[in-house]
Symmetry: C2
Subunit: 461 residues, 2 copies
Amino acid sequence: MSGADLGKHLEGIPALFDRHEIAPYCTDWHGDRTTGALAVVRPGTTGEVARTMRACRELGLAMVPSGGRTGLVDGHLPDAPDRTVVIALERMNRIRALDADNFVAHVDAGCVLQTVKDAAAEQGLHFPLALGAQGSCQIGGNVATNAGGLNVLRHGMMRDLVLGLEVVLPDGTIWDGMSSLRKDNRGPALHHLFCGAEGAFGIVTGASLKLSPLPDRSVTALFALATLEDCVTFFRMARRNCSDLLSAFEFLPSDAFEVARIAMPDLPRAVDESHGAYALIEIASSGYVDPAALMEQLAEDAMAEGLVVDGALAASVAQSRELWLMREALNEGQARMGPHLRTDVSVPLSEVARFVNETTAALAAALPAARALAYGHLGDGNIHFNVHADPPHRAACLPAAKTIIMERVAAFGGSISAEHGIGRQKREALRTGASPEHHRTLLALKHALDPDGLMNPGCLL
Amino acid sequence: MSGADLGKHLEGIPALFDRHEIAPYCTDWHGDRTTGALAVVRPGTTGEVARTMRACRELGLAMVPSGGRTGLVDGHLPDAPDRTVVIALERMNRIRALDADNFVAHVDAGCVLQTVKDAAAEQGLHFPLALGAQGSCQIGGNVATNAGGLNVLRHGMMRDLVLGLEVVLPDGTIWDGMSSLRKDNRGPALHHLFCGAEGAFGIVTGASLKLSPLPDRSVTALFALATLEDCVTFFRMARRNCSDLLSAFEFLPSDAFEVARIAMPDLPRAVDESHGAYALIEIASSGYVDPAALMEQLAEDAMAEGLVVDGALAASVAQSRELWLMREALNEGQARMGPHLRTDVSVPLSEVARFVNETTAALAAALPAARALAYGHLGDGNIHFNVHADPPHRAACLPAAKTIIMERVAAFGGSISAEHGIGRQKREALRTGASPEHHRTLLALKHALDPDGLMNPGCLL
């Protein structure tokens, strides 16, 4: 099989065949590893995606869909370069319709998340998915990985924000499941099958997205607490007292400030940074409810109960942004510290503190050179439990740390992937960790939809 | 095959073989039609459900799961009495754990919805699914039909309230997908496959349910408006100004009061009942937000804009209950008017008024004897468009009315089933209405999971 043979089948559809042009599509997010592909096809319409897929099928070639390539589990990295075609959705970047009357946006899969958020905001509407990568990740990838992020607490994961999808099925036919209906109970909701399936069941080409009213007021605060246990108690208090208006509740250790300052040395000191735990909270509302009044009352009550020991309420949009910048700088700071272990695990909310404390202690006992940094989305029980080590110890330390963390996740009934998905990195762990019934059912679905196994082989299953 | 043969295979599991005892399990909700079954098996544990299913499989018998039997599309009615076993989950009615720390309830599929709601409320928590049938419908049926109801606007359908499931698969193995995790992105979320599948893919035996803080304050109001168009405008205004605290937004025609009084003659007159449209609204909150203040401000602004022309705010829990009683009496009043056409359709929110007005006019033109009554969950675009006719005209009028309504639903891009599911009544309509790709994919899933077609045959697919 050569690129030229494929080219003949794809007449009129732009494609890259040059190894150097292909490389960026086959490189992981950290830039550590590049595989390759026979070609990168760049269809501009759903019909062209279908034509590409039928051609690949005819030629017995594997297909890997490609979006913003910001996934952290290598879902977009072909395993067999000489038998794989990358299908990049980036040219399909049209907002098909922004239907403000129905609080719905119909978009191409290749739309960048931020573009959709901006277009909604222009109409006074809100697409609430919020991720670090939102400036480059694409909607199709958000669907395929069932993306999470900062606002899951209030608005759910990507699947909760999808009303319908358009998918090219493995046989090259187009399933049009786009919808403006809020409620449609005609049997099993097929679009859920494709959320989190990482391209294994077909390629998402369009999505109908649920919009909310744009919050016209939003207030952020950073609170210091004595312990992570207090932080969990504080979350429950906030959840109850703020009804459904709590849009983010992140927890951080005191180390986080120092790490963030590696990337952002001028980061102001909003609170005393020597306490046991920190909570970064956002309350947002539109219309009649004043989120600042809620936040103030929450702070007052939490202080009166002795939970919160220090705090900073952002008094302006600029101050809010500063508090969130710290959270982003934390990622960048870690990157600058060099290669490290990143995890994305979850445990039941009630176990978060015990999980973090016991795992940190276990790491300290077994691996004195390891430096743990655990933070995340507290309300979702989602912890990014990362581990750093200086170069001489790194190669030995990080895999050992991973084993210790994953053993604890299993013991606490947690998940090895809270939001990043399975991809290629966690495929083996899914296989060994899932029950036989679970795995057998997944394989039965895969076989039913993609009997020849041409869709993103090596990813997920 | 005789009941005695089956009995041997089910040693120790209670079962009914008497035709009269079986009849209630095989009768539709309105009591119009009874089929039958070889037996009604009443397992008390998940293991017994699995044993029952393996026995049926061995004997080549079809299986129909049975919950509270309040479904409106005959999903629980066996087609072939001499080859079908009903598996009733009613003895599996244990709340396995109410985990307040994690805002989760783990329950048996046979728990009555109201029991779960009450148990949650005792711990200050809220299971928000709210249906007319909540005193007798069961959680397993809620999952299998992806139940909707009054609070979908804020809390979603049943699938949105499920964190995990336990399901006995068609081959008799148990898939344990119960979960206390808020966030778990390990590949496709299998539990979504069983929500709305009406028993076609397996039998749900347990569910992990998301709980919210119990609203400690809730306020209801009934508003009169000139037209249904105004009602839609008013909804958008309320949705935007009340953030995510609007928990119900029902619309009603002025006729509704008269019909409700057939069942409840003493129903007080809360507002002038001669206007073009009515909105019944609930705002609920826990903690700091005062829903009454929001409702008052909403009423004031809507009156100032000339949208709302009359209104009654419930000043007490008793008054709130009275307003909601009217909504319930509307169902009962229709039942007393005799057999009638009930539909459960949806259209995009922006089309609700035009759909109702045009369909009403089309009915009036074609069928002078028909009396339309359209009401429903406005925020979801879900309309119960029902039609009554006096006995002499009934037999001719109702089927003709159904054709007219369903033609309009298709023309407006709507759904023939917004919340009731497909069951046996809408199976043919699903088959003819769905695209070939949609139907083929559903059949592929069915074949993958239930190759022998023993699970609830004749329902859904």
